[in-house]
């Protein structure tokens, strides 16, 4: 029972990341009709927003301490972060400690801007091209972005730890402990997903976007500049992926390749959920996350070795055979 509950939590946690990335992917597909293979790179850039802010907050001035030596035997250089000298050692240390939550605020405008530039600068030129062309250009873009990040930050993972107050484990039941930050990540994703749905459901802007997703031409005939709104939706999708990346940093240290690790799985999530279906992406994200988690249990892999590596694709095949449009796919999309 303990193991069962822990794997459910693990599944929800993995599913949170899948759902957030898949939500942005399907949002872009549903509005602009673009299959964006650079979406994983946006997740990765979000995580590196956190790395960047951490480095920024750790910018230091140097003083030489003659009583200590460095590895070459020269007088040691002591680094003191500027924030600690500006706000005092305790406050400065607290600001650095909370760099990941702070990076959420920092990442939103940056990710929207990156999404906007990506869409206006490159992807809009491929709207009328075939999906294969869109996949090629966005995949190429993803490789360029990850190589840029690697050139700047190196290939090794860089730790972006959670604040001390949100580290450690929570005891959920007898024998069931779970990392606090992973619980925070799950609730964070629920809030973000809820906010995106509320934005689309309860605002005029969202209503127009939904109308545009259903019938782009008719909305255009009503004199609404739907393209402009769809561009903003690209920015929103980039921000959602970026936020997912920022908050994921304390779970697994950011590295330049993390976007690619999630990309393929997120596409499977989108296809299983139904191309262009927002609730489908979220439901499929959590479903596949939980299934993957259970498939990794020793009791399962002992019976079917290797099932943990193929479970998601196996389920995708079965669902697509039974429901070719995915769980909640709309008629006419990708048909």
């Amino acid at each position: 029972m303990d193991v069962f509950l822990t794997q459910i939590l693990n599944g929800l946690d993995k599913g949170s990341a899948y759902a957030l990335i898949a939500l942005g992917l399907t949002l872009i597909f549903g509005t602009l009709g673009v299959v964006n293979f650079a979406h994983g790179a946006l997740f990765m850039i979000g995580a590196f927003c956190s790395v960047f802010l951490q480095r920024l907050l750790n910018l230091s001035y140097e003083t030489v301490d003659p009583t200590k030596t460095d590895f070459l035997g020269n007088p040691a250089v002591i680094k003191t972060p500027y924030v600690e000298s500006w706000f005092g050692p305790e406050m400065g240390a607290a600001i650095i400690d909370w760099s990941v939550p702070l990076a959420v605020l920092f990442a939103i405008p940056i990710m929207i801007a990156i999404g906007f530039i990506m869409e206006r600068g490159l992807i809009k030129h491929f709207y009328k091209r075939e999906h294969a062309d869109q996949i090629l250009v966005t995949f190429g873009l993803a490789i360029v972005l990850q190589e840029v990040i690697k050139a700047v930050y190196g290939a090794n993972p860089i730790q972006t730890p959670a604040p001390d107050a949100l580290s450690g484990v929570a005891v959920l039941a007898e024998g069931v402990v779970y990392p606090v930050w992973r619980i925070v990540y799950f609730f964070f994703s629920v809030v973000v997903i809820g906010a995106v749905f509320a934005f689309l459901q309860f605002t005029t802007f969202g209503m127009v976007v939904r109308a545009g997703m259903a019938d782009r031409e008719t909305v255009g005939l009503l004199g609404i500049d739907i393209d402009k709104r769809f561009t903003l939706m690209f920015g929103l999708a980039a921000a959602v992926a970026g936020l997912a990346g920022v908050m994921y940093g304390p779970i697994n240290a950011p590295n330049y390749h993390m976007g690619m690790d999630f990309l393929v799985l997120s596409f499977v999530v989108v296809v299983v959920g139904g191309m262009g279906s927002l609730p489908g992406a979220v439901a499929a994200g959590f479903l596949l996350g939980i299934l993957e988690s259970f498939a990794s249990m020793t009791a399962v892999t002992d019976i079917i070795p290797g099932i943990n590596q193929i479970i998601i694709y196996l389920v995708a095949i079965i669902i697509l055979l039974v429901r070719p449009r995915g769980l909640m796919g709309r008629k006419g999309v990708m048909e």
Binding site: T6, Q7, K68, L72, P157, Q159, N252, N255, H257, E292
Partner: protein
């Protein structure tokens, strides 16, 4: 109608000229025929440095490349000479190798066997490299070692820790300075017993490829010999990033030690996940729960950040060692690049010097001569104490360091502390040991 004037003198003259013309190439090739692949004929000799310049081990590859460049500089008489000054063999004089200036070409292994073989092949066939060295993965090392054997060049392995490299996949043209999984197990076991006792239950998470398998086999055998019980061994896909599904069941498994047979990004993520799940603070079977990482690397430890504190492991070399060789290398490397070298940099630097020295002693670049010079070669002054390049399997036998993640680091480089220097005799095994059985060294191949 044409008329031909043939004279006896003319026929003899023409025949002599034609005969000389036909014989000429044979005359030259008879004296200059390559006795072995890429025999250097000019004033320089080319070495091939095959390291991961892209991919997940690119940082380690970059450090290897720095060490190679430093070694070449020292071989050619530049810089402060580094470990040439402390090396027990005094054959190298800083005038290249056998009087030829050392030049190098580089290849990118991408940490993929096929890419590594392709880049090694290109360096041998197009650039004329007489020796290939490098790598940051056992799968790659074994693949490139096989290629070098076929091509007839020496392979001086870089960072490869699988028993198989000098075990079932050993080759006569291949040599490894780095230690291996068996040695890690043999060095760690007594320290584990001293610190954690002999009544422990271990749960292993193991990377599902050659290095992971041999590492797990080695550490499990060493700890079981102490009296530990191996509760479970779970193979994790190499591409795994989130290990939470594998970590979560550990606490309820009855185990009180988690052994992470992971390296690189796998190690960083699995260790981070284990610490997140509170394993370091946990209690099991009335004891403190412990985590062990058999193969440590400072570059990887940096990626794991705070999570590394107090975790035991083993390493081939560490920059804080105070022997003359290590100090000379750290000074030389640190002055040139501004930070201390990694164990990957150390082993690749040593391999370059050892190859150069072997050529010098053999008086040839012929792989068979070089191999003969390396086989059974005993040396000192390269940072690991007295070392033997064993003839039977081309594996170096030297002291192994047991290290622990430092609780209070004084700098960004000061991440590991040496807990014990395990003497070479304690990690030496029989060449026919079952973990290394199944392969034949064969005979050296000079190629050409």
């Amino acid at each position: 109608m044409s008329k031909t004037n043939l004279t006896r003198r003319g026929v003899l003259k023409s025949g002599a000229v034609a005969g000389a013309g036909v014989a000429l190439p044979t005359i030259f090739t008879a004296s200059s025929a390559a006795a072995y692949t890429n025999e250097p004929t000019g004033a320089s000799v080319t070495l091939g440095f095959n390291v991961p310049q892209t991919g997940p081990y690119a940082d380690e590859g970059a450090d290897e490349l720095r060490a190679y460049e430093l070694a070449v500089e020292h071989l050619n008489g530049g810089g402060d000479g580094g470990m040439l000054n402390t090396f027990s063999s005094k054959e190298l004089k800083g005038d290249g190798i056998l009087g030829k200036k050392v030049e190098f070409v580089t290849g990118d292994t991408q940490t993929k066997s096929d890419a590594a073989r392709a880049s090694a092949k290109s360096m041998i066939e197009k650039d004329g490299a007489v020796m290939i060295t490098g790598g940051s993965s056992s799968g790659v090392a074994i693949a490139v070692q096989g290629l070098c054997q076929e091509a007839g060049v020496i392979f001086m392995a870089g960072l490869t820790h699988s028993n198989d490299t000098t075990g079932k996949d050993k080759k006569a043209n291949g040599f490894r300075h780095f230690f291996n999984g068996y040695m890690s197990g043999a060095a760690l076991a007594p320290v584990l017993k001293g610190l954690y006792g002999d009544d422990r239950k271990a749960y292993h998470l193991t990377a599902d490829y050659t290095w992971g398998w041999t590492q797990q086999e080695s550490i499990a055998a060493a700890t079981e010999a102490l009296g530990w019980e191996t509760v479970n061994n779970v193979l994790t896909p190499l591409a795994s990033t989130d290990f939470s599904s594998y970590i979560a069941p550990v606490l309820n498994s009855g185990a009180d030690v988690l052994v992470l047979n992971h390296y690189g990004g796998n190690m960083v993520n699995s260790l981070t996940n284990a610490v997140q799940f509170g394993l370091r603070e946990a209690q099991a079977n009335g004891k403190n729960f412990e985590i062990v990482v058999p193969l440590f690397s400072r570059l990887m430890a940096r990626g794991a950040g705070e999570n590394i504190k107090g975790i035991l492991g083993s390493t081939n070399w560490h920059w804080s060692l105070q022997d003359e060789g290590s100090k000379a290398f750290v000074k030389s490397f640190g002055t040139k690049y501004g930070f201390p070298p990694s164990q990957a940099a150390h082993t690749t630097y040593c391999q370059t010097l050892l190859y150069a020295d072997a050529c010098q002693r053999a008086g040839t670049f012929n792989p068979c001569g070089v191999a003969e010079a390396l086989e059974g070669f005993e040396f000192d002054g390269l940072g690991n104490g007295k070392t033997l390049y064993r003839a039977e399997d081309h594996q170096c036998f030297k002291d192994v360091l047991v290290v622990k993640g430092k609780e209070n680091p004084t700098s960004e480089f000061d991440l590991l502390e040496v807990v014990e220097v395990t003497p070479a005799a304690q990690v030496t095994y029989d060449p026919e040991h079952p973990m290394f059985a199944g392969g034949q060294l064969g005979s050296c191949n000079p190629g050409a």
